[in-house]
Symmetry: C2
Subunit: 137 residues, 2 copies
Amino acid sequence: MIVSTKGRYALRVMVYLSQKGEEDYIPLKEIAESEGISQKYLETIMAVLSKAGFVDAVHGKGGGYRLNRPPEGYTVGGILKLTEGSLATVSCTTQGPAACSRASCCQALPMWERLDKMVDDFFEGITLADLLAEQEK
Amino acid sequence: MIVSTKGRYALRVMVYLSQKGEEDYIPLKEIAESEGISQKYLETIMAVLSKAGFVDAVHGKGGGYRLNRPPEGYTVGGILKLTEGSLATVSCTTQGPAACSRASCCQALPMWERLDKMVDDFFEGITLADLLAEQEK
DNA sequence: CTCTTACCTACTTTGTCAATAGGTAAAACA
DNA sequence: TGTTTTACCTATTGACAAAGTAGGTAAGAG
């Protein structure tokens, strides 16, 4: 498993917000209910998205969350790397090359690195706008 | 993380055995010591490889494990799928399409399916022989 | 019949993910 | 002013799987 619920929920929230446009602020409660996600759990995810500047947040009545870029401005890779922490496919590549004592003679390491790059390129090549377009196919 | 220690250990064992050729049987103890893997833990991995017919096993003195095909006959994908159970990148794609109630309207599902296929093709396109050749680069 | 090896069943430990609990701070509104 | 609505913060719990351990039995060679 390379993407947990955290990243998938984040992606769904971002898709939801992009469908709502950049006008209104959407309260967390509405997002959670519409998407069937635990309100409390979603709080932790929104906090990450907000801190990183992926969404604007406003307190009080009429407040909530809102995208601050057009959907083309968000890559899936950016959202997932932020919420998941990393998209590394094996623990060998999460830390630096010194992490594994066998790195110098490991026959598989180049393969893991190529895989990581392939996955990264894959996710960086998809934007929120691409996901929105997907449903019409 | 898409590949755990189980799959990585299995891969290392297979590389080790392929370097030893198809002549001798190599006892588990030797593999574990050479590769720095817990002997007991490796037992469970070898049992899987043996049951699936990936290696030949012989009891008693002079016994151990041995490959029964040339290195080109093993794909990394085959070894990993056997030992990891699955290489699915998200839980959405591990079970059938009915697993997620939102599958029918999920904007991300086609993306996950493309990713799964990409990863599968990647691993199926690499054989043990390719890994062995890697070190000379 | 003893030694060496694979094979089997069950348990423990550890760590992360997912979710929950119970608050405080900011902004709007009456 | 104070009440409601919202975001934001810190800590804890529960579930589960991954990683590793323990203690055996069965097969085969010498």
